[in-house]
Every structure is written in structure tokens, then in C-alpha cells.
Subunit: 270 residues, 2 copies
């Protein structure tokens, strides 16, 4: 579950409710990882409170602040029976710098393979992709040098994920990233909006905004020969803006059409 | 010449220089129309000064503030030997409310048919399209009801033009407009950037930013059944971000590839 940040934590809490439900509802065993956040302990307490209120059986928190801590066998033990893992927002580079390549990273993959629901909001969402939007400048026009990407935690293959998408005008940097990596699919998540990537590569959208998808497979660009801050030529990007209630096939890179098959997907994956 | 607003008027003045050159350079006879602007007289003086500095032979200004003035035979006389007409920025709805359907509007078409260069900046650029982006809300995500379009002056057929595009985050409203009118092609002009639409539908880009093109011909949307301010589903929009130095074929809706043919277009149309 990739969440665009600023998800509702007080009222309907649709996205967080769905997370607890997917993690088993009254049987949910949730681990919150707050490494991305500068106010990690506070973030842990906040989410622990919300998930307990929403009916999870057991909620625990992890907040490694250096690689040594993330590499301790104890942190992996925390995840060994988790049915849901939630990565908070903050700074995605801090999260991957501390967690990537450690035992905790491995444990996250094992939990995912075992069927646990992995969710991330804001920085946590960007970090879940195979290729991570690390930082960049805002703006609608793609420009040379306006985006830096690194390796993400790799829970969602073949993607690059940006968040607070509409609120911070991030289309330009997502287009730049995809122009430079046309094999990837770019997902831009609005705030209080969640892309649920099911095991069959079906993506379901819930929440208040939309998920912008940039497909660069038919794209032409001069990205490879620019210098300085010049605008990038990008021609033929396929763009999709998918709000709640729609399903998108990330492998076929097209909207799901058959309502029947949509329902079947839903059944197959929940 | 469709200019995204805030074009350089002091230093290199690349776009305004190109306008004077296309209007005949030392033989240029330019008419500025400042109806869009709230400070019309000031805008007239500003552009008159710049165009004379850039070597135009003769510059005159028109500033009708009501339809009766725009319908006077004298205003059409002003345009009868103009080789260039320049529409200032301001409020495009004021411009079209006063000028559309009057003798001045007719005279503008006659000048265009005769081969005069017609340029508009900001509101003036939006007004030149067949379908006019009248007003709307900013944001990157298309939403129901976030855009109002009206009839433009119709100098550039089959288009809808938005300006200050990157600077004011206007992709969402352009996507909404195209989702509701998929036969049109959407042009989003960054500031200090100009789309030169040649008679053969070849579009050349000059200036500092880029021109974003939204082609909705392959698009699917639920625009027709939304209510309220809900995000719109848009799938399969073709997006192009075209900076200075590139040419785009508005009829084929594709980049010009052959450098040779690009040069030929250039020669044929200048």
C-alpha cells in the first residue's frame, strides 16, 4: 500500500482502516517503522494509537537510527510474525540509508513474501519502490538535473514513486525520472490517497485524490544529452490520472475495463 | 505566436525580437491591442516602446474598453495595413467579451489571412485559440468543475491554450479541459516561452521554458458522469513537453523527426 502522505488519521481514516483490515483486522499484528521521521518516537506513538483504535490485536514499533541497530537480529524478530508493516513519512534517504541492506530490510522482504501487508506513507511510500525518488525540485516541466534517484527497498518492482504529488507540483521531476529510466513506471500519489498494489500487479486506488501514472515506454527524449537546468524534451509519455474506485494493470499499463474481472481481481487478492 | 506570459522585455528579448522580425523587421507595422489589461494605456506604452526599440517602422495601439468601440470602422482601419498584431496579457474573458464578434475581431482574421503575424501573451495567447481557457483552479490533478472554457477568437483552430503553465501548476485544468473536449489539442505554455504555429500546423518552440502538449485522442475518462469537485479519471493521455529548438506537428500530433524536413518547414513558413 503506497500512500501519498497526509492520510486522514482522525475522521473516516479510510486508508489506515483498510490497512488494518488487510493485515487481519482483529488478528492484525502490526509493526510500525519510524526511521524516516525526525520525530520518530512521536510518530510511533501516533500510529500505534491509531492502529489500536482501529482494532489491531497487537502493535509494536521499531525506530533504528543507525545501521547497526537495523542489523540486529532482534529487529528481524519483531517482523517474524507481523501481518502488517507500516513505514512512516519523513526523509526517504534517511530510511534507506539506515535500513537498506540490513537484516531489517531482509526481514521486510520475508514478511512481504509471507503475505504480510507492507504500507508506506510519503517518504515510506517512495522507499518501497525498486527505484527511489530521493529528492528534487518542484515544477510541472521536466528539467535536466531536477531529480535524484537511488535504490529503494524494492518491495514494488519496476516503479518509482512520488508523493504529495498534486500538493507539491511534482510532475516535472517524475517525468524527468521516467525519461531517464523509461523501463520504469512512475506513480505520483496525491495526499490522502493510496495505491494498493496487489500481487497480480493490479493497482487499486482509494482515498481522496488521484494516482498519476507516467508510462514512458513510448517516450522520446533528449534527456541523455542535456546539461545545466535546461527543460527536457519529452514526447509521447502516456499519462493516466486514476482516482478512487478505479483499477489499473501495472503490467499491461492500462486501465482495467471489465468490471467483472476487476471484482475477480479483488477477490483473488484479498 | 502564443506566448506564455512574462516574456523578457528588457534583456535578450528573444521572443519579442522574433515577433518584430516576423512582422517585417524595419518594415514592420505593428498594432498592439491592450483590451485584456486593466492598465491598458500603460501596457500600450510599454509594448509600443519595446517594439520601436526593436526596430519596427511604425507602432500603434488600440484599447477598446466596450464592444461599441471595437465595432467602429476606425478600429478595423488600424489593422488594414498591419504586418503584426500583438495582444497583451490581462483577463482573456474581458478581451473576448469586448472584441469577439465585432468588426475588430473580423479585422484580426483578415489580417491573419493576409499573412500578418498575430501574437498574444498570457491572456492574449489563450484568447487566440478556437476554444478558450477562461478560468479555473490550479493543481496537477484533473477535477470535475475546475475549468471553464468559452469560445476564443479562433485564430488557432482545434486548440485550447493555457499559460503561466509551470509557474501556476495548471496541468490539472488542462487535462480536465481536454478530457471534456478530446477533439482539441491542449497547449500549456511556460512563462517566457513561445509556441510559433506556422501555417502548415508545424509548431516551433522558442524561449526559456517548455510547451506542454496534451493529446486526448486516445484518452478514456469518466469526466461526463462526475459531480462536485471529485478527481477525474483520465487514462491514456499522450503528453509531450517540448522545449526551445524542437518542432511539433500539431496535425499529426507528433514530434518532427527529420531535421531536414524541419528546416524545410522553417523555410516554407518564414
Amino acid at each position: 500500500m503506497l500512500i501519498g502522505g497526509a492520510e486522514d488519521k482522525l475522521r473516516g481514516r479510510q486508508i489506515l482502516k483498510r490497512f488494518v483490515k488487510a493485515a487481519g483486522g482483529p488478528e492484525a499484528r502490526v509493526t510500525v517503522i519510524a526511521t524516516a521521521s525526525e520525530i520518530g518516537e512521536e510518530a510511533l506513538r501516533l500510529y500505534e494509537g491509531v492502529f489500536l483504535e482501529l482494532g489491531a490485536a497487537y502493535v509494536t514499533g521499531l525506530h533504528p537510527t543507525e545501521r547497526g541497530q537495523a542489523d540486529r537480529p532482534e529487529s528481524t524478530a519483531e517482523l517474524s510474525d507481523a501481518t502488517g508493516v507500516f513505514l512512516t513519512g519523513g526523509n526517504q534517504l534517511r530510511l534507506t540509508s539506515i535500513v537498506a541492506g540490513t537484516r531489517l530490510h531482509q526481514a521486510l522482504h520475508l514478511a512481504h513474501d509471507r503475505g504480510a501487508v507492507i504500507a508506506g506513507t510519503s517518504a515510506g511510500a517512495s522507499a518501497l519502490a525498486s527505484h527511489m525518488m530521493a529528492f528534487g525540485q518542484p515544477g510541472a516541466t521536466p528539467r535536466h538535473g531536477n531529480v535524484q534517484t537511488t535504490a529503494g527497498l524494492g518491495l514494488v518492482d519496476g516503479t518509482i514513486v512520488d508523493q504529495h504529488f498534486e500538493q507539491r507540483t511534482r510532475l516535472g521531476r517524475l517525468l524527468s525520472a521516467i525519461a531517464q529510466s523509461p523501463s520504469l513506471i512512475g506513480l505520483g500519489l496525491d495526499e490522502d490517497t493510496c495505491a494498493i498494489v496487489h500481487s497480480n500487479h493490479a493497482m487499486e486506488v482509494i482515498g481522496r485524490g488521484a494516482v498519476t501514472i507516467v508510462d514512458g515506454s513510448q517516450m522520446e527524449t533528449d534527456a541523455y544529452r542535456l546539461r545545466g537546468r535546461r527543460p527536457m524534451m519529452v514526447s509521447g509519455a502516456h499519462l493516466h490520472s486514476i482516482p478512487a474506485g478505479y483499477w489499473f494493470d501495472l503490467r499491461a499499463r492500462a486501465l482495467f475495463h471489465d468490471e467483472g474481472s476487476g471484482a475477480a481481481e479483488r477477490e483473488a487478492s484479498e
